[in-house]
């Protein structure tokens, strides 16, 4: 750990904040581009940069949400419910200052959560076998499919595509070529980072191409003093912070559920629990900005806990971070806490520095970011397109990665336009080999399908995961049913 690494974290935070603030550039896309850039870097430097960009991106989404009512990230949607009305009242600086300080508090809470729960969960996860790994991977993919936009069945179809993408190339056990059709460029399979850049990055270029909406912001320059924490506002909001941070971390812990769901749930709970808010919710209540923002940032700790201890991403951005680990030779999972404990501690330090840096960069750089929001479409879209191309090319200096990236971008555009969510496809691409290798190991070790199925219900940890699996689907069905009933 040295000054150069702190510099990398700082640069990562700045890039993440800017890209998280720009509508259309999601945290996930930011992470995809950042990860592709770090290919070939020393591992510690790459991790510092990636963690900085992640933390910055999560915090940056709320800036566009408050000033433009266009959330920079899905997790910032709930922040805009009261953030934008505050802007319309001429109190954007108060909204921004609240968002910044509670993001810092939420981020620190998430780090504490990761440090405390991560080690406990890591010890427990050492008892996992092939059955448990398989169930966790399938649970993660199906949960993302179920919770994504669009209907559940389309989410599962999207996940099936991701599983197929994983199968292209050499079979891991027998060495037989699958789905290559004699094309040499496919013998190594698809580079999953190129696929992600296409599905998240280039897809967005296609989607935004026809969007004539200009980013009209009425934001003025803010004095830094006005962005400092307001004691009176924090006094009003502190009770809602008490439950919002744990809600964010626990929801972030669930495979496939991340900051966006944590922020919405926290907003909903706060709306129910706070009887005398500073203003009615939806009209500029400070509690309505504080609660989702702290949950959103606390979810980072939860998502990373699941990632490090179980090797299952908590949400789409952490799925990209998982790919970054693979790229740099680290394998998150139960053995990570034992074999790579020093990296876990290093990442905790990077997160701590990143969260604090993001607060100060946000404080000092809000005006610069607001200026960037005024950049015209004809600048931003070509910039993103070229970044995607260079990002894909930089992976292996292979022009075919770029070609596949563009093709997947078009596939992503068609899928999204037809209501098929993209996130399950990407998650399945990353987790597909874990699913396949483990189920085939279970089949080979047990010697038959019947014996394999029996092994899932005779192992205690497997039964717990199965119950959680079934329970999460039942909860989803119940909430869907009660929504229909209310309508």
């Amino acid at each position: 750990m040295n000054f150069i690494m702190v510099l990398y974290i700082l640069v990562g935070v700045m890039i993440g904040l800017v890209m998280g603030a720009l509508p259309g550039l999601t945290v996930t896309m930011t992470m995809v581009l950042v990860v592709s850039l770090t290919y070939g870097w020393p591992m510690n430097t790459a991790l510092a940069f990636i963690v900085g960009a992640f933390v910055g991106g999560v915090m940056g989404g709320s800036i566009a949400s408050i000033t433009l009512n266009i959330p920079g990230t899905a997790a910032a949607v709930a922040t805009g419910f009261d953030g934008y009305p505050l802007n319309k009242r001429g109190e954007a600086d108060k909204a921004l200052s609240t968002a910044l300080i509670v993001s810092l508090i939420g981020g620190l809470f998430g780090i504490l959560f990761l440090a405390a729960i991560g080690r406990l969960l890591g010890t427990f996860a050492l008892k996992f076998g092939s059955q448990e790994y398989f169930l966790l991977a399938v649970w993660g993919i199906s949960l993302v499919a179920v919770l994504s936009k669009g209907n559940m069945v389309k989410g599962l179809i999207s996940a099936g595509l991701g599983l197929l993408i994983c199968m292209v190339g050499m079979d891991p056990i027998t060495g037989i070529m699958r789905y290559t059709f004699g094309v040499n460029q496919l013998t190594g399979g698809f580079n999953f980072v190129a696929v992600m850049i296409g599905l998240f990055g280039m897809k967005e270029v296609f989607v935004q191409l026809s969007n004539k909406q200009a980013f009209k912001t009425t934001a003025t320059r803010y004095k830094i003093r006005s962005l400092l924490p307001d004691r009176a506002i924090l006094k009003k909001c502190w009770t809602s912070l008490l439950w919002s941070a744990p809600i964010g971390s626990i929801i972030g812990l669930l495979p496939g559920a991340g900051g966006d769901i944590g922020a919405l749930v926290s907003y909903g709970v706060t709306k129910q629990a706070v009887k005398n808010p500073s203003r009615p919710f939806g009209e500029g209540a400070y509690e309505g900005v504080a609660a989702p923002e702290i949950a959103n940032d606390a979810a980072v700790g939860g998502a990373l806990t699941t990632l490090f201890t179980l090797g299952i991403p908590g949400d789409a951005p952490t799925a990209v971070i998982l790919s970054a680990f693979y790229l740099h030779g680290l394998t998150p999972g139960p053995t990570f806490m034992v074999m790579n404990r020093e990296y876990f501690s290093l990442i905790l330090i990077f997160l701590l520095i990143g969260v604090i840096a993001a607060y100060f960069v946000g404080l000092l750089g809000s005006n610069a970011m607001l200026w960037m929001l005024r950049l015209p479409r004809w600048c931003i879209l070509p910039f993103i397109a070229i970044l995607c191309i260079m990002g894909a090319y930089s992976l292996q200096n292979n022009i075919y990665d770029v070609l596949f990236m563009v093709v997947f971008g078009l596939i992503g555009y068609v899928m999204e336009s037809a209501g098929f969510p993209i996130a399950p496809c990407v998650l399945a691409t990353i987790l597909g080999s874990m699913v396949e290798n483990n189920i085939r190991q279970v089949l080979i070790l047990t010697g038959g399908v019947g014996q394999a199925l029996l092994s899932f219900v005779t192992r205690p940890i497997s039964i717990v995961i199965l119950l959680l699996f079934v329970g999460s689907f039942a909860l989803r069905s119940l909430s869907g049913f009660s929504k229909k009933k209310n309508n």
Binding site: I173, F206, L209
Partner: protein, 163 residues
């Protein structure tokens, strides 16, 4: 037909083709290698499971689409919306074709020569400046500046070997 409907049809055709390809390759492997399809250590079992899941989901999804299709048919799509949708899809297809040409030319002629041209065309089409001269100047300036900044950042700072 409404643009969304067309894209929905295309996506379903794509997924049905993907599922067919899964099973076709399974049969190819079983035939060529004389493998037992139902053997526990066969490389086709997992692929068959994925293919089976896709088949069931596609049948369910198509059934739901068909049931919801009547509501869509009754929906009041205006000619203007149809036209907008067609224009949108055309823009996407044109950009896709342009990107493929750009990738091919970049491989042949290099990043520094082709990227400014591509960016100039892209920016010129997107730019909404009032006068033609302003559009030209903004596109040329933007293309050159972006190319050289990105080249410098990727080549010199990130040490990425560009074509």
């Amino acid at each position: 037909m409404h643009e969304k409907k067309i894209l929905s049809v295309i996506s379903y055709v794509f997924f049905i083709a993907i599922t067919a390809v899964i099973f076709m390759d399974i049969f190819r492997i079983v035939r060529e290698r004389h493998l037992d399809f139902f053997a526990i250590n066969s490389p086709t079992v997992y692929a068959a499971l994925v293919g089976g899941m896709m088949t069931i989901c596609l049948i369910v999804s198509l059934t739901l689409e068909f049931k919801g299709g009547k509501a869509d048919r009754d929906a009041d799509y205006t000619d203007k919306e149809d036209q907008k949708g067609s224009q949108r899809s055309l823009k996407v297809l044109l950009l896709f074709a342009a990107l493929l040409i750009y990738i091919f030319l970049m491989r042949e002629f290099g990043f520094l020569l082709i990227t400014p041209l591509f960016l100039f065309v892209f920016m010129f089409i997107l730019c909404d400046a009032a006068s033609l001269l302003k559009r030209l100047l903004q596109s040329v300036g933007g293309a050159l500046a972006m190319t050289f900044i990105l080249y410098f950042v990727f080549s010199e700072i990130f040490a990425v070997l560009l074509p």
